[in-house]
């Protein structure tokens, strides 16, 4: 199969959906001629014009609010939020307005919009351009949350998101835009709420989101050389969450680590670990382990930043301990 970059995959998804459905439009800063700072949208304005690929002023609450209104009245806007950290600026429009409109109107109004943004540290972008804020939006009923882990998921989930009748937030890993992966030429969609078993294994389950899937695969490779069989699962959407696939795996392996690049405390790993503990408790040989980013603002210095996120080494170490039944903390 041909390989394309994650950036190209998103670009294709947008172009295909815009061709298919004239109500799809794009709003964001420097999305048109500049094709976004990450160059994800290059070429789209040439094909679809400035009426559908709209450069906005630096008014995140404003244009997200406008996307909500456009979506409520018959358009399908895709909003580009340049950095995931800017979610803090638009929470009211996303969480008080978009997320609640369908419910508050008793099902009469829909808000079919996509907010695409990113996550990920270790790019030396410091505390306001490096956050992974998926836990915040996942907490708000009415929003769906997708976390593609490669070009393949980025394309398939984006197309599904655009066709969904609800507000969907997609977090791309900003360090992965140039990473290539096999992506079919033919059209495909990835349904929400279906986890992907990336690699089957029998000794331990690693559940990893987005950027952390690569880490989990690295751990699987490493531990394989030590004779450990690792199952790697990518939930792909954390809302809705495919509990069944996760539970099946954990019941099989009896050991699990949940890995996500958001801060660990009050984060995504807590929810997934809790559900697994609740629903597979008597199958577990040790408590489900969580590995999130450290609970510190992301430091600029390369000497500090790299230790804030889970790595192949730190995850492998936790896995080895689990396998050796050395989780003394739990005692």
């Amino acid at each position: 199969m041909r390989e394309i970059t994650l950036s190209k995959a998103v670009n294709e998804a947008l172009a295909e959906e815009m061709r298919r459905d004239p109500t799809v439009l794009i709003l964001g800063e420097d999305v048109a001629e500049a094709g976004t700072p990450f160059k994800v949208m290059s070429g789209l304005v040439e094909e679809f014009g400035t009426e559908r690929v709209i450069d906005t002023p630096i008014s995140e609450p404003g244009f997200v609010g406008m996307a909500v209104g456009a979506a409520m009245t018959g358009a399908r806007p895709v909003v580009d939020l340049m950095f995931g950290d800017f979610l803090f600026l638009i929470m009211d429009q996303l969480c008080n307005q978009a997320a609640k409109t369908h419910y508050m109107s008793g099902g009469k109004l829909n808000v079919p919009m996509v907010l695409r943004t990113n996550l990920g540290a270790t790019r030396r972008s410091a505390a306001q351009h490096s956050q992974s804020l998926q836990a915040l939006v996942a907490h708000i009923p009415g929003l769906k949350v997708a976390m593609p882990s490669s070009a393949y998921e980025a394309k398939g989930l984006m197309k599904t998101a655009i066709r969904d009748n609800n507000p969907v937030v997609i977090f791309e890993d900003k360090l992965m835009y140039q990473d290539k992966a096999p992506v079919p030429e033919e059209e495909f969609l990835i349904p929400f709420g279906e986890a992907h078993v990336k690699r089957e294994g029998s000794d331990i389950t690693l559940i990893a989101t987005s950027s952390m899937v690569q880490v989990a695969e690295g751990v699987a490779d490493l531990l394989e050389t030590e004779g450990v069989s690792v199952e790697v699962i990518d939930p792909r959407t954390i809302v809705p969450l495919d509990e069944d696939t996760l539970l099946k795996s954990v019941r099989k392996t009896s050991l699990a680590i949940v890995i996500d690049e958001g801060h660990q405390s009050y984060g995504v790993t807590a929810e997934i670990a809790s559900r697994l503990n609740e629903k597979s408790f008597y199958h577990l040989d040790a408590p489900v382990q969580r590995m999130g980013a450290m609970d510190v603002p992301v430091p600029f210095s390369p000497a500090l930043e790299d230790v804030t996120v889970p790595t192949v080494e730190t995850v492998a170490q936790t896995a080895r301990k689990l396998i050796a039944r050395e989780m003394f903390d739990a005692a």
Binding site: V68, G69, A71, G107, N110
Partner: protein, 328 residues
């Protein structure tokens, strides 16, 4: 640029405006009674006194035109064509309410008449209204969107963000600032520096100030701005000087510490939009005293009937609680 009323030309439309204003007043009187008799869950914000604003504007709109509304939203909802029964059912949390009881007073929406909903976040609907206008422009539809908001909402930064985009892209949206002199318990001059219309003008938006107690003045201006919006000459901004008769919400009874009884009495006796328009209608011979009284009585009865209906109507089944979180 202050606007002023022209002479009447259309009996039917005048009567419709009168009726709609009386309907709003009747609705609010009943809603207030429901609160005072402890039959309404929660609090609500009365529109009484501001009727000419919603009616003057909404009578310049068609069913295809959209509005966004506020926490003080019953007036907009009635003016945009809503039905009493579905409204009272909503206020009481009943299944037959416009939102199946899930929204209540502060989120009442009436999709069928283009009311995109009340909003409990002050200024929260400014993006929505402007986005609706963006959609209209992109899809080549000639509908216009009116964004209602209070003087207090002019303190929300969102307003300036969306006015900038509306102006840059010439969107068919009208920002209607209902300046009733107060945001909650604070006078407007204490929270708004400079000039409200100048703020819109600074973005290149034509702005108007109009007497919000004069339904004809409001309607004339609205007619012309709506027509200009349809021709691509939007956006526009209107500041409407008006007054709320009740407290900030139904529970705000002792108001003297922030506004005087004399001020209230002055507005109610000398500037009431319904009394004034009724006088005009009589003066111009459009209706007789008897006809007016008959209209009033009929509407009062309608409102009372709707309340009785809503009080008896069933609540949604508890199984509805997790319906409508996500659309299919």
């Amino acid at each position: 640029m202050p606007a002023k009323s022209k002479t009447p030309s259309n009996t039917e439309s005048y009567l419709q405006m009168y009726r709609q204003m009386v309907r709003i007043r009747a609705f609010e009187d009943q809603a207030n009674k429901l609160y005072l008799s402890a039959k309404m869950p929660g609090l609500t914000h009365m529109y009484s006194g501001e009727e000419a604003v919603a009616v003057g504007i909404c009578e310049a709109l068609t069913n295809e035109d959209r509005i966004t509304s506020t926490h003080r939203g019953h007036g907009h909802c009635v003016a945009k064509g809503a039905d009493f029964k579905a409204m009272f059912c909503e206020l009481l949390g009943k299944e037959e309410g416009y939102c199946r009881g899930k929204g209540g007073s502060m989120h009442i929406a009436d999709q069928s008449h283009g009311n995109l909903g009340a909003n409990a976040i002050v200024g929260g609907s400014m993006g929505i209204a402007t986005g609706s206008a963006l959609r209209a422009k992109l899809q080549g539809s000639d509908d216009v969107t009116v964004c209602f908001f209070g003087d207090g909402a002019t303190a929300q930064g969102l307003m300036y963000e969306v006015m900038n985009m509306a102006a840059l892209w010439k969107l068919p949206v009208i920002y209607a600032c209902e300046n009733n002199g107060y945001s909650e318990y604070t006078k407007t001059e204490e929270i708004a520096a400079g000039s409200i219309t100048a703020r819109a003008e600074a973005f290149g938006i034509e702005a108007f100030k109009v007497d919000g107690q004069d339904v004809l003045a409001v309607n004339d201006l609205s007619q012309s701005l709506v027509a200009r919006c349809r021709k691509g000459e939007g956006p526009f901004f209107i500041e409407l000087e008006t007054y709320r008769y009740h407290g900030h919400h139904v529970g705000d009874i002792n108001r003297e510490y922030y506004r005087s009884k004399e001020e209230e009495t002055d507005w109610k006796t000398n500037r009431d939009p319904i009394t004034r328009f009724r006088a005009t209608l009589l003066e111009q011979g459009i209706v007789t005293e008897e006809q007016v009284e008959a209209i009033n009585a009929e509407i009062a009865q309608d409102a009372a009937d709707a309340v009785a209906y809503a009080l008896e109507a069933p609540y949604p089944d508890v199984s509805e609680v997790d319906m409508h979180v996500y659309a299919a």
